[in-house]
């Protein structure tokens, strides 16, 4: 054989060997059992594979079993998990991936907002559903600068990057804010009145539109009978937004009416700065209402000194003199009964209490009649009137006798230390 023929023969043999080898490998690979590593299961779903699903090339009727306990796999967490399957005595190791390919779902709602109002994507979503955390965003930033309907696309995304889009209708209106009704002071009505301004001492405001109408419902009020009654106030703005509040109004006798009218009169503000200073000094937020009243009583008892004063013009326009007399005594810390009563009224008024200035008589050991003109305060606490008169405790202390005049009832003082015309004032019964 020539060398040339020899080389050609060797080459052909090599080619044949390679072809036969490749053919043999292909046959082996097609007929040998192997592990299937390409299986996936959806996040949050049950794993729905049999042991044989994890094998390739297994003969028909191959009895494979799981070595791995599939129940130990947390299907609520993304990841790859090793799965072992046994055929006969041989164990095959495969991999199962927990994947998230399902987009989140959401229930959306149409909304209405004010022009140039703030809209967040969350306000458009009622609820979302997904195996993972979701985030909500606008597909593009909405421009809600014109009145009318706007379609907004809201995008719900999960942590795996799956998204779903929902169109939502946003109605942009000029004004959807209802008027704000604030009762600044309680209303006191003189019993027997025939007309009442139920909006007195009430502030109504509206940020966008003018207030168009004010209405009230006083069906439960009996102006002929002393008592506390609910009245519903309703305010509507020009855009048609309405708000309502219920305020309790107080139908009271004359003495109470004029006391509270004086205290509510914004012109009677001369002593306000002094009142605020005293209240800041003696009252704390953690006190109960009774403790606050007691603190005021003790302050008057300990800080004031009784002193006759030449000012007795309280007989004229008595109720409106409360402010003037309080102002004097807040600077001098001295005064007579009208000063004490005036200071007490202004200090107690900070606690939003109903009060009545009483003009009666007080016991005097030196007066021939034993009773001299005297002023003090009746205050309504928890729906019941009681007397408040620190001056008389001060006077008793002058005789080394302790007698409390803090929130006392008629029977404790009437005809003993105090006298008054009971027909003119509330009873403590």
């Amino acid at each position: 054989m020539s060398p040339r023929k020899l080389r050609k023969s060797i080459k052909n043999s090599l080619i044949l060997t390679v072809v036969l080898g490749a053919t043999l490998l292909a046959v082996i690979s097609l007929t040998t059992i192997r592990a299937n590593a390409g299986l996936q299961s959806e996040l949050g779903q049950a794993i729905n594979y049999s042991p044989n699903d994890f094998l390739i090339n297994e003969p028909k009727d191959t009895q494979a079993t799981f070595v791995t306990d599939l129940a130990s796999i947390d299907v609520h967490h993304l990841g790859s998990y090793e799965i072992e399957v046994k055929v006969g005595t041989k164990t095959y190791s495969s991999t199962l991936k927990i994947v998230d390919t399902v987009a989140p779902t959401a229930i959306v709602q149409d909304v209405s907002i004010e022009i140039n109002g703030t809209l967040t994507p969350e306000t458009l979503i009622v609820s979302t559903s997904d195996e993972s955390e979701t985030t909500i965003s606008f597909k593009s930033e909405p421009k809600l600068i014109t009145v009318g309907n706007h379609e907004i696309i809201v995008v719900v995304s999960d942590t795996s990057g799956n998204t779903s889009e929902y169109p939502v209708n946003v109605e942009v209106v000029f004004d959807k804010t209802a008027p704000v009704i604030v009762e600044e002071r309680q209303l006191y009505i003189l019993v027997g009145s025939t007309t009442v301004d139920y909006w007195d001492m009430v502030n109504v405001s509206d940020a966008k539109s003018a207030v168009k109408s004010l209405e009230f419902n006083d069906q439960q009020v009996n102006l002929k009978k002393i008592g506390v009654y609910p009245v519903t106030l309703s305010a509507t703005d020009e855009a048609g937004n309405t708000s309502s509040v219920t305020r309790n109004v107080n139908v009271v006798r004359e003495s109470t009416y004029y006391t509270m009218r004086s205290l509510n009169n914004p012109l009677n503000n001369k002593a306000d700065a002094f009142v605020d200073a005293v209240i800041a000094e003696i009252i704390t937020d953690d006190m109960t209402q009774t403790e606050k009243m007691r603190a005021i009583y003790e302050w008057l008892l300990n800080e004031m000194v009784y002193q006759t004063d030449l000012s007795h013009d309280y007989a004229i326009d008595t109720y409106n003199k409360l402010d003037d007399y309080a102002l004097i005594s807040f600077t001098k810390f001295k005064g007579h009964c009208f000063h004490y009563a005036a200071m007490a009224a202004l200090l107690l008024d900070t606690l939003d209490l109903e009060m009545t200035l009483v003009e009666g008589e007080g016991y005097s050991s030196t007066a021939e009649s034993h009773f001299v003109i005297h002023f003090w305060i009746l205050v309504k606490v928890d729906g019941h009137y009681v007397h408040f008169d620190p001056l008389y405790e001060y006077l008793y202390l002058k005789y080394s006798t302790h007698k409390d005049f803090f929130l006392v009832k008629d029977a404790q003082i009437f005809d003993i230390t105090h006298r008054w015309d009971k027909s003119l004032y509330p009873s403590t019964q």
């Binding site: 800080e303 030449l310 600077t331 030196t366 007066a367 001299v372 002058k398």
Partner: protein
């Protein structure tokens, strides 16, 4: 010897540093001398020693035994109370023309008050109060100036 001298010098220096006079209020400071008569809150005033009052008012006292009395003079107003037998000065309120024994009058500055009466005072809202027992002198200070002065006695 040197050590003794040094210690003496140090003490002298320290004492020199704290040589600012300490002013303290006594009830005598609440006295007022008018027409060569000295009156003090709490003192007996049965026969008024200063006779030339402008107005006089007498009222049945709610607090004390007998009558409360008010004497208005040109430069001050004097209030008395009674123990049933004698009258005692309860309060003296100065008008703008009269100065206290330490030269303070309505219109003086708060700084002048503190300089005259010292730093040992209490405050009650706008008032600066100097107290000795049952006697006090009270300055109502508005915008750093004295706007009212009263000399007071607080009976037991």
């Amino acid at each position: 010897m040197k050590k003794t001298i040094s210690l003496f010098l140090i003490l002298s220096f320290l004492m020199g540093c704290s040589a600012k006079p300490q002013v303290s209020f006594t009830k005598e400071d609440a006295s007022l001398t008018v027409e060569s008569k000295t009156i003090t809150p709490g003192m007996k005033y049965t026969t008024p020693s200063i006779p030339d009052w402008v107005t006089f008012t007498e009222l049945t006292s709610c607090a004390y035994k007998g009558n409360d009395k008010v004497y208005e003079y040109d430069d001050f107003t004097l209030y008395t109370y009674s123990d049933g037998t004698d009258d005692y000065i309860l309060s003296i309120e100065l008008n703008s023309s009269l100065s206290t024994s330490k030269g303070i009058k309505i219109g003086s500055t708060k700084e002048a008050v503190l300089k005259a009466y010292g730093e040992e005072y209490t405050t009650k809202i706008l008032n600066v109060i100097y107290t000795d027992g049952q006697v006090n002198i009270t300055f109502l200070i508005v915008e750093d100036k004295v706007s009212a002065i009263s000399l007071n006695y607080r009976p037991e």
